[in-house]
Amino acid sequence: MNDLLTEIWESIRRNKLRTALTGFAVAWGIFMLIVLLGAGNGLMNAFMNQGEHFATNTMAVFGGVTSKPANGYQTGRRINLNDQDVAITQSALFSGNVDKISPELFKGPYTLAFKSRHTSVYLNGCYPSLMEMNKIEMLEGRFINQNDIKQHRKSIVLAASHAIELMNGGEDYASLVGKTVTTDNITWVVVGVYKTDRTAQRVEAFAPITTMQMITNDINYVDRINFSFHGLTTKEENEQFEKTYRAALNRAHKAAPDDESSIWIWNRFTQNMQMGKGTHYIRTALWVLGILTLVGGIVGVSNIMLITVKERTREFGIRKAIGASPREIMKLILAESVSITALFGYIGMFLGMVACEVMKMTVGQSSVEFFGETIRLFVNPTVSLSISFGVTILLVVAGAIAGISPAMKAARIRPIEALNET
């Protein structure tokens, strides 16, 4: 083993340029593979993060503008969702699939004030079940409850970031629970504080929708209806449900039952299904690209090894004449190929990981505003350790593959012909 290493070291030492060239090809291949996988992971982690804010088996429904004339109305009529739509969603008609419901009513911005401190806030009027659907995590107190809804209480749930702001930057926001805060001229009782996610959309405070409707004079109006559902597992089932559900709401608003622009349905389940497919495609494409680059490296190593074998024909002839078996010669070439590939592959992998870290610190920190929502394009664009181990095995296999053809060529060298060459 030691002797084999010495032989390889000698060969590398004698062929510095060749070694550098092959090494570069392999290192580049692995570097690209790692960077591509890292970037892909970053993209996909960002996707996932986006999805993580909501329970996946939910739909959100919005009012739109009619695109078909119906019941004597022209097209272009604005449809506003209302309490009746909430009732329809809750009705026996859809109870086979619909579980929990929460309408939402957005208003703002208001000036949220506590003592002399104030900040700007959007209010979101909702039902208690929104907490579960939007995966809201309470840090202190409680979320909106049924009594808040029934009694039109002026209860408010603040975001931690706002609570900290109101406490003059202090972390003891817990003491805010039970205190009163104001938005413009309305006084609220803080019932809870929820955790704010850095990557989440705009930060809002939650209040009972009934209270919101009352104080904003938007009686019988909702911006959005959210509901969770079950029993819809295929794309077809979801489409069928959406069709009948849309028809029911359209009828209530005297719009054409099949009008798709009067009622907008955002189905997070099918959305996720497509996203899953999307990430799958991205991942596959990245692997294919990476592997192709690596194959380029392998072909490079193989070619250059072939050239060395040709250059060393006489040497192999001598070795055979003094008793080297074909196996010994093959071993020499294969070991050299694997060593070069593995060594430079590791260099490439290391540089690739450094590049991933750089990406993480630069692009990974930036985000874009998208329809009022903050979206990070890259989240943790790195490759896991298990992938790195996979790459190690890949390298050894790649080196062996690259070496096979040159090794066989070397093993087939007939000493007599090799020695006749001068």
Partner: protein, 240 residues
């Protein structure tokens, strides 16, 4: 007989066939010191390569140490070469990126001998050939005579029973040629190594005990030369 050839034929076929060996019958016993002479292109090297299992033959039988050498696999051939035969070439054929001592120990590497033992043995051979000071030098730092002595040390380190030398003095001046031939003679006398030397220098042939002439692909006359008087230039000189 250590070496027994019966009706060996060899034809090269590079486009048009060239019948080089046309029925060689030859026997060489253990411990003999023979030379093969003949005109250029008469097939001397071809014959020696067949003897050394570096090349195969088309017809006839080659018995080496009572084993029929025919259609051997590369692996078997390598084994016999490693165990039985040592080679010395006109152009030395040292591996030029290995030092003298590394070249000498290489055959032992293929026998699986440990690094330490290899090195010790190689050094003792180099010492014996007066090359101890050159052990860590690369071939391109050695003179022709030194290179050939390194090559002989490499050929002998496995203690082969047969030493095949193809024009071992071909690239050397007359003084060095004498030294090399003296070395071979001593090996034959003290170690009883069977030595076959291909040459077309009569002075070299004169150092051996038996001179085999090859002509037109067959063995011509065989001269016994125990007295070493064959050279027209006299004993113990090699004219260049």
């Amino acid at each position: 007989m250590l070496i027994d050839l019966h009706n060996i034929h060899k034809t090269y076929d590079n486009g048009q066939p060239l019948h080089v060996l046309k029925g060689i019958d030859l026997g060489i016993g253990e411990g003999e010191f023979v030379s093969i002479m003949g005109a250029s292109g008469s097939g001397k090297s071809t014959l020696l390569n067949i003897l050394g299992i570096l090349d195969n033959y088309d017809e006839g039988e080659y018995w080496l140490d009572s084993k029929l050498i025919k259609n051997l696999s590369e692996k078997e051939a390598a084994h016999y070469r490693n165990q039985l035969i040592g080679f010395v070439f006109q152009s030395f054929n040292l591996i030029n990126f290995k030092t003298a001592v590394e070249n000498v120990e290489l055959p032992l590497y293929y026998q699986g001998v440990s690094r330490k033992k290899r090195n010790e043995l190689a050094m003792s051979y180099l010492e014996h050939f007066g090359l101890a000071d050159w052990a860590t030098h690369y071939p391109n730092e050695l003179s022709g005579g030194q290179k050939q002595r390194v090559a002989i040390a490499r050929a002998l380190i496995t203690r082969p029973r047969i030493l095949l030398a193809d024009e071992p003095t071909g690239a050397l001046d007359s003084k060095t040629s004498v030294e090399v031939m003296d070395l071979l003679t001593e090996l034959n006398r003290t170690e009883k190594v069977t030595i076959i030397v291909v040459t077309h220098e009569s002075g070299v042939a004169n150092c051996t005990d038996k001179i085999i002439h090859i002509k037109d692909g067959i063995i011509g006359e065989t001269t016994l030369n125990e007295q070493h008087q064959s050279s027209i230039f006299g004993t113990n000189t090699i004219m260049k």
